[in-house]
C-alpha cells in the first residue's frame, strides 16, 4: 500500500498549517474591566483569538496530518495499540457520571458502583485480591505498587534499599524505582532472552525490596521459570511486581497472581483498549494480594453494609494518594465498558488473536527474529540496516513502523506488536512494508519518508537549539 498523508503547506513561507498565533492574536488589557485591584492582576494577556470556523479548520487540518489507529496499522511494540471501540466514548460522556470528586458517598452511588465493579473484574483478571483505580497511567501504577511494597516492608520493620529490574525492562521501571527512592539493580538478560536464574539469585538478597518483571517480557517471551523466580525473590523476603504492559498476551491464559506476583499494575490504555489520545490520558490501576491491601492508596471503594450500596474507606496503612482525586475517571469508564463487551470469551480470544497475529507477521517478514517462542510481540532485527531508517521508510507504505532500537538486547531492534485488531490483509500490508523498506537502498532509506506531511525531521537540531513555544520562534 502507498499512503500520501494530507498536507497543508505554505510554500514560500516554509510552514505547514500556520500556528494559531500566526493566524492572529489579541492583546487584552486585563485591568480595564477587572474587579480586582491592579496590584493583583497582570497588565495584559496576548493569545490567539480565532473564530469558531477558523478553530474548526485549524484542528481539522492538524488532525489530518496525524497518523492514528483508525487510519491504519500501528504496531508499536510494548504499546498495544488496539482499536478503541466507539461506544465506550458515549458511555463515558454520560452527564450523570460527570460529578465532582468531593461528592458525599451517599450522593455518588453510581460512580462508586462503577469503581467497585471495575476493581472487581480487574482483580479477577489479574488474580489479585484488591485493586485501586487511582493511578493515572502505567508509570503511576508502578510508583504506586513500589510505594506499597516499600510501605509493606517498612511496616514489617524491613528497611530494604534495592529494586531488581531486568535490563530489557521498560524505562519507567527504572525511573519508578528511583522515584521511590530505591537503588536499581539491573539484571542482565539470559542468553535465551529471559531472566537468568543464576544471575537473579546473585542479584537478589536482603536488600531486595522487589523484582519488577513483565511477562511475557519485552520481546514477547514467557518467563518459563516464573515459579522459580518467584521463589528466589520471596525466599529473600522480596516482593514480585508485575508490569502489566504485556497483559494482553495472558488474558484468560495466565494470571500474574497465580504466578506468584504480589503486586501489579494494569495498563488499561493498552490491554483494555482505552484510547491513547496521542500520549494519554491512560490509567494504571494497581492490584495486590491480601497482605498488601492495607497499604493501597486512599480512598478505596467497597460494598457497604448490606443493602446500603457502596462506600469509600481508607486502607489501614495506606500510602496516601498518588493522584489528587480519583485518577483518570473517564478512562476507567471506558475500560469497564470494554471488559463488559468482551467478557470471558472475548478476552481470551483477544489474547489468542494477538499472539496469532504476531506469529503470522513474523513469519511473513524477511527480517530475523532472534528470540522465541514469542507471544503478542516480537523483536525483529534490522541487522546491518539502521532500524530507525527502515522505520522511516515504512511510513511511505501506509503503515506506522514498530518501536525501534529497543530493547537493546536485540541489535537494531524493531519491536513489533500488531495486536489482535489487524486482519490478515493488513498484516500482509505490514509485512510488505517491512520487506520493501528493509530491502531498499541506503539512499532511499536516508531520504525517507517522502509521503508524510513532513520530510525527515532534524531531531538533533531540535534538541541543540530548543524552541519550545511560539514565543521562542518570534523574530526568526
Amino acid at each position: 500500500m502507498i499512503h500520501d498523508q494530507a498536507n497543508y503547506e505554505r510554500e514560500g513561507e516554509d510552514v505547514r498549517e500556520p500556528l494559531l498565533s500566526e493566524k492572529g492574536q489579541e492583546t487584552v488589557d486585563v485591568r480595564e474591566d477587572s474587579p480586582l485591584p491592579d496590584d493583583l492582576t497582570r497588565e495584559e494577556l496576548t493569545l490567539p483569538n480565532p473564530s469558531e470556523p477558523e478553530t474548526a479548520r485549524h484542528y481539522t487540518r492538524l488532525s489530518q496530518m496525524n497518523w492514528a489507529i483508525d487510519a491504519g496499522p500501528y504496531p508499536l511494540g510494548s504499546c498495544t495499540m488496539k482499536y478503541n471501540p466507539k461506544f465506550t466514548e458515549d458511555v463515558a460522556a454520560d452527564p450523570n457520571a460527570a460529578i465532582h470528586p468531593d461528592r458525599s458517598a451517599r450522593s455518588a452511588q453510581g460512580n462508586l458502583e462503577l469503581q467497585y465493579r471495575l476493581q472487581e473484574v480487574l482483580a479477577e483478571i489479574g488474580g489479585m485480591d484488591a485493586v485501586t483505580l487511582q493511578p493515572p497511567a502505567g508509570a503511576a501504577g508502578e510508583l504506586t505498587g513500589i510505594l506499597v511494597a516499600k510501605a509493606y516492608h517498612e511496616h514489617h520493620g524491613n528497611d530494604r534499599s534495592e529494586v531488581v529490574i531486568p535490563a530489557s525492562a521498560h524505562g519507567t521501571n527504572f525511573a519508578t524505582a528511583a522515584t521511590a527512592g530505591y537503588d536499581v539493580v539491573e539484571l542482565p538478560s539470559g542468553e535465551d532472552g529471559r531472566v537468568d536464574l543464576e544471575a537473579l539469585e546473585a542479584a537478589v538478597g536482603d536488600d531486595t525490596a522487589a523484582l519488577m518483571l513483565t511477562n511475557p517480557n519485552t520481546v514477547g517471551l514467557f518467563e518459563r521459570d516464573i515459579t522459580e523466580i518467584a521463589e528466589v525473590v520471596h525466599d529473600a523476603g522480596g516482593l514480585l511486581y508485575y508490569d502489566g504492559a504485556n497483559l494482553n498476551a495472558l488474558l484468560g491464559r495466565g494470571r500474574p497472581g497465580d504466578m506468584g506476583f504480589d503486586v501489579m499494575h494494569y495498563n488499561v490504555h493498552k490491554t483494555f483498549a482505552t484510547p491513547h489520545g496521542g500520549g494519554g490520558p491512560g490509567a494504571g490501576p494497581v492490584g495486590v494480594v491480601d497482605e498488601l491491601a492495607p497499604f493501597l492508596p486512599t480512598p478505596r471503594v467497597r460494598e457497604a453494609a448490606e443493602g446500603s450500596g457502596y462506600e469509600r474507606f481508607e486502607p489501614a496503612h495506606t500510602i496516601g494518594k498518588v493522584h489528587g482525586f480519583a485518577g483518570n475517571w473517564l478512562v476507567s469508564i471506558k475500560a469497564y465498558a470494554y471488559v463488559a463487551r468482551l467478557g470471558d470469551e472475548g478476552l481470551a480470544d483477544a489474547a489468542a488473536k494477538a499472539v496469532l497475529n504476531a506469529n503470522y507477521l513474523a513469519e511473513r517478514i524477511d527480517l530475523d527474529v532472534p528470540f522465541g517462542p514469542f507471544h503478542h510481540e516480537f523483536a525483529a532485527t534490522a541487522g546491518d540496516r539502521d532500524a530507525a531508517d527502515v522505520a522511516k521508510r515504512m511510513l511511505d507504505f501506509g503503515v506506522h513502523p514498530p518501536t525501534t532500537k529497543w530493547p537493546e538486547m536485540v541489535p537494531e531492534a524493531m519491536l513489533t506488536e500488531p495486536t489482535e485488531i489487524e486482519g490478515q490483509s493488513s498484516l500482509d500490508d505490514l509485512a510488505e512494508a517491512f520487506n520493501l523498506a528493509y530491502a531498499d537502498t541506503d539512499e532511499a532509506l536516508d531520504a525517507a519518508p517522502n509521503r508524510t506531511a513532513a520530510g525527515r525531521i532534524d531531531q538533533v537540531g531540535a534538541a541543540r537549539n530548543p524552541r519550545l513555544s511560539w514565543q521562542a520562534l518570534d523574530g526568526e
Partner: protein, 442 residues
C-alpha cells in the same frame, strides 16, 4: 466468511484464522502459548459478554444512581462550560486514537497542537518553558519537589507548603518527596493566605522548595506573592507557585512575582466535571530546561527546510535515561492538553479574561447574599476570592451540608463550622436556589 465468537474487535474470519495458522505451521492458537501448566489459568473470570447496547443501558442505570445535585464544589476541581466544538474536534480519531509522537513526520498535527498548548502556558505563566502535561496539579507539585531536589544545592531537604492545602495534594506530594528523602513541612496561613511574617521566620537554609498557591485552596487570591518569592530567593530555595489556568489569565504573572516553577491545574479548561480527572501544568524558567519532567515539543526543520515539530530533549526521559530520568512519567495527559488548548482558542483572551473576572464577581456576589442570611457569615476571609470562598455557619457544617444535599445542592464541609462554596458559569444560574436552600436549612 464467518467469525467465531470471541472479541468483536478482531477481524479474523474462521477461514483467515485457519490460513494464518497454516502459514505459521501450527494447528491452533493454543500451540503458540508457551505457558507452563503450573501457572496456566483455566478458570473463568465470570464476566458475561454484553452487547454494546446492553452496556450503554447498564452504565446509564448505574450513573443514574448518582443523585441529581447542583454542585457548588471546587477545591481543586472545577467545571466550566465546555463549548461543543471542543468535543467535536478533540474526538477526531486522528487525535484520539494516536500514540505518543515517536515518528514526528507522520504526527505533525498532534505535535503542533501540543506546541501551541505549551505556548499558551508560556504566555499564561510568563515562564520560558512549559511541558505538554503532567497527570494533575498534585503530581505536578510532586514533580516540582523532585526538580527542586535536583537543582537546588541547599543543605536542606524541606519542602515548605501552606498549612491549608488540599489534603490529596499534600498526600501526593509526600509520596514524591519520600523517594527523594525530602520532608514536607507547613507554614501558617493568616486569613486564607500565607502568613508572610510567620513564613519569614520559618524560611531558612533547610528549605529546598517553597510552595505557595494563588488562588489558595480556600479560593483566596494571595496578595504577597512577590514577598514570598523574595523569601525563597534569599535562601536559594525554589519558588513554586500553584495556580489554575483560568486564574492565570488575570492574576499577576508568575514570572513577575519571581516564580521558578508553576504547577497547577489546566483541566478546568477543556474537561467537563470529571470526578477529579485533571491536567497538570508544569512550567519553569529556561535555567531548568534539562531538568523538566515530562514531554516537550520543539520546533525544528524537515528535509525540505520547512518548519516541523518533534518531541525533544528526550534524554531527560525514562526511556533513555532510565533511573536517572527527570521523572518516571511516560503516558501523560496529551489529549486533555489538546482539549484545553482548543477551549482556550475558542474563548480567546477576551473570553478567558471574562471567565476569570466572572469567577471573581460571582463569588463576591454569592458570598454577600449568603452573608445576609442569619446563621451564616461569608466570606470568612477578608480577601479577594476566585470562584470560591469559605462560609462560617453557626450550626455544625456537616449537618448543614447534609441538609443542603437534601435540598439538591452540594457544598464542601471543610471544618466544624466551615463550609466552602464554589461558583462557576455552570452553576451561576442556580445561586437563587442555593441561597433559598441555605435559608431553609440554616
Amino acid at each position: 466468511m464467518s467469525r467465531a465468537n470471541g472479541t468483536p474487535y478482531a477481524p479474523h474470519t474462521d477461514d483467515e484464522t485457519a490460513a494464518m495458522l497454516a502459514a505459521i505451521g501450527v494447528d491452533d492458537e493454543e500451540a503458540l502459548f508457551d505457558i507452563p501448566e503450573a501457572v496456566a489459568f483455566d478458570g473463568e473470570f465470570g464476566i458475561e459478554p454484553r452487547t454494546e447496547r446492553e452496556i450503554r443501558d447498564e452504565c446509564a442505570r448505574i450513573f443514574g444512581r448518582n443523585d441529581d445535585l447542583t454542585e457548588f464544589l471546587g477545591r481543586g476541581h472545577y467545571g466550566h462550560y465546555v463549548p461543543s466544538v471542543v468535543d467535536h474536534l478533540a474526538d477526531r480519531a486522528e487525535f484520539l486514537t494516536s500514540y505518543t509522537q515517536y515518528q514526528p513526520e507522520v504526527s505533525q498535527g498532534f505535535l503542533q497542537a501540543l506546541f501551541e498548548y505549551q505556548s499558551m502556558l508560556v504566555e499564561l505563566t510568563g515562564l520560558d518553558v512549559a511541558n505538554c502535561s503532567m497527570y494533575d496539579a498534585a503530581t505536578a507539585l510532586g514533580e516540582a519537589a523532585t526538580l527542586a531536589d535536583r537543582v537546588r544545592s541547599t543543605a536542606g531537604d524541606t519542602v515548605l507548603v501552606p498549612e491549608q492545602l488540599r489534603e490529596g495534594k499534600r498526600a501526593v506530594l509526600e509520596n514524591y518527596c519520600a523517594g527523594a528523602d525530602l520532608t514536607v513541612e507547613t507554614y501558617p496561613m493568616a486569613d486564607g493566605t500565607a502568613d508572610v511574617d510567620a513564613l519569614a521566620d520559618r524560611a531558612g537554609e533547610d528549605v529546598v522548595m517553597l510552595y505557595a498557591e494563588s488562588p489558595t485552596v480556600r479560593g483566596c487570591i494571595e496578595e504577597r506573592l512577590a514577598a514570598i518569592g523574595d523569601l525563597a530567593d534569599e535562601t536559594d530555595a525554589l519558588f513554586a507557585l500553584g495556580s489554575d489556568v483560568v486564574a492565570l489569565s488575570v492574576l499577576e504573572s508568575p514570572a513577575a512575582v519571581g516564580a521558578d516553577v508553576v504547577v497547577g491545574e489546566a483541566g478546568s479548561l477543556g474537561l467537563p466535571t470529571a470526578y477529579g480527572m485533571g491536567l497538570g501544568i508544569f512550567a519553569c524558567s529556561d535555567e531548568f530546561l534539562r531538568q523538566v519532567p515530562g514531554r516537550l515539543v520543539g520546533a525544528s526543520e524537515d528535509a525540505d527546510g520547512a518548519r516541523a515539530y518533534t518531541l525533544t530533549l528526550q534524554t531527560r526521559e525514562q526511556h533513555i535515561r532510565k533511573e536517572r530520568a527527570t521523572s518516571n512519567i511516560c503516558t501523560n495527559q496529551a489529549w486533555v492538553a489538546l482539549r484545553a488548548a482548543i477551549h482556550a482558542a475558542t474563548l480567546g483572551p477576551d473570553g478567558l479574561v471574562d471567565l476569570a473576572n466572572d469567577s471573581v464577581r460571582e463569588a463576591a456576589a454569592l458570598a454577600e447574599r449568603i452573608d445576609d442570611l442569619s446563621g451564616a457569615a461569608a466570606p470568612v476571609h477578608d480577601r479577594h476570592h476566585f470562584r470560591e470562598f469559605a462560609v462560617r455557619v453557626d450550626q455544625p457544617a456537616e449537618a448543614i451540608a447534609a441538609d443542603l444535599e437534601g435540598e439538591g445542592f452540594a457544598v464542601h464541609a471543610i471544618d466544624d463550622h466551615l463550609l466552602q462554596v464554589c461558583v462557576t458559569d455552570l452553576n451561576a444560574g442556580e445561586t437563587d436556589g442555593l441561597v433559598a436552600a441555605f435559608e431553609e436549612v440554616l
